[in-house]
Symmetry: C2
Subunit: 209 residues, 2 copies
């Protein structure tokens, strides 16, 4: 990439990827910054600025080659390679992640799901059998795991994160409503659903200001 | 509030609210910007700047009164009043939202869940019976609904959003992986789970740069 990329641009990258894939499926092979902007509700100049961050792609009077740009953004996102995930917690969220078709379709495959509740251990979720969390470390030693999905209560999240980190896991998708303290070489994305609802409440309250 | 508040500050508001509630539960009644910053992994000066946006609260040498600040941020977020939600789609995500304890604990109560699949209509999710989506408009006429939770495929999302908007719904929590086109007087928060995973992939790939 061409130097520093802001958080805001990083957050927009998956949107670019999604729209470019849709365009490809629709058979659109090239698009102007104007056209892409209208589709994504961004200005043409914002589109050009963003895409310049990734190394510059457009040609004057031609616009962007959709498949090339989609491929390049996929590489930047790292989604051109598969990721193997384990889910910690076989509750509603853990099950929803395990049962999703879209994560594997995007290269994020769930290879195991763990819980500590004896009533859940041994039950099946989608094609997976819920394993005893006591077997977690051995599983990680014996299998390649890229991402841990934390779908557990806050109280358990930090200790489990520490354990997973010691086992070498460096990618955390955290649904627990807490902030994880973790080494700088690990990557964390939080999905704080409660907080999203509170932001919605804020927007509803202040939308006329 | 004291004028314009940036998106970044808005996104941090629920974090402030969560930490202040935790502090209150721990019996901490006052905290310095330094102390709150350490807890939230922000600098003291960032804390002071953020809180100044909400009208200014601290007193030199005293810091912030935790209950007052928590209450004020709750008012700004609009979570001091309850919200009534309906869920569209009784799949994995819709069920996970319906079964969550934490949304009602935060004042976001699910009052109905709808689906179009005859196999799902009439089944129960938590304490709710899945209703036929054909009955949606009548339900909204007869009940106060603040928020629609879209837990349906992309293909159905825009038409359903248009219908809900015509019925007067102005709050949308959208789990469908698409952007909704909607009137300016509506508020939308997207939860694009796929995109969160892609951002995690990006962070894992670029964390050593």
């Amino acid at each position: 990439m061409a130097g520093y990329v802001s958080d805001a641009v990083i957050r927009r990258l998956p949107g670019y990827y999604r729209h470019l894939r849709e365009l490809e499926r629709e058979g659109v092979m090239q698009i102007s910054s104007q056209g892409l902007g209208e589709r994504m509700c961004l200005t043409a100049s914002q589109i050009r600025q963003d895409i310049n961050c990734f190394g510059g792609f457009g040609r004057q009077g031609f616009g962007y080659a959709v498949p090339e740009l989609r491929e390049r953004i996929g590489q930047i996102l790292g989604v051109d390679k598969p990721h193997r995930m384990i889910i910690l917690g076989a509750g509603n969220i853990g099950n929803a992640v395990a049962c999703s078709d879209s994560f594997p379709a995007n290269g994020f495959e769930t290879i195991a799901i763990f819980d500590s509740d004896p009533r859940k251990i041994g039950s099946t979720v989608d094609a997976l059998t819920v394993q005893d969390i006591a077997c977690l470390e051995r599983f990680i030693q014996e299998n390649t795991v890229d991402i841990a999905v934390l779908a557990i209560p806050s109280e358990a999240a930090q200790a489990l994160t520490d354990q997973l980190y010691r086992c070498g896991i460096r990618g955390f998708w955290n649904f627990a409503p807490c902030d994880l303290k973790i080494g700088q070489d690990a990557a964390v994305v939080n999905v704080h659903l409660d907080e999203g609802l509170q932001v919605l409440s804020f927007k509803m309250l202040h939308r006329h200001e």
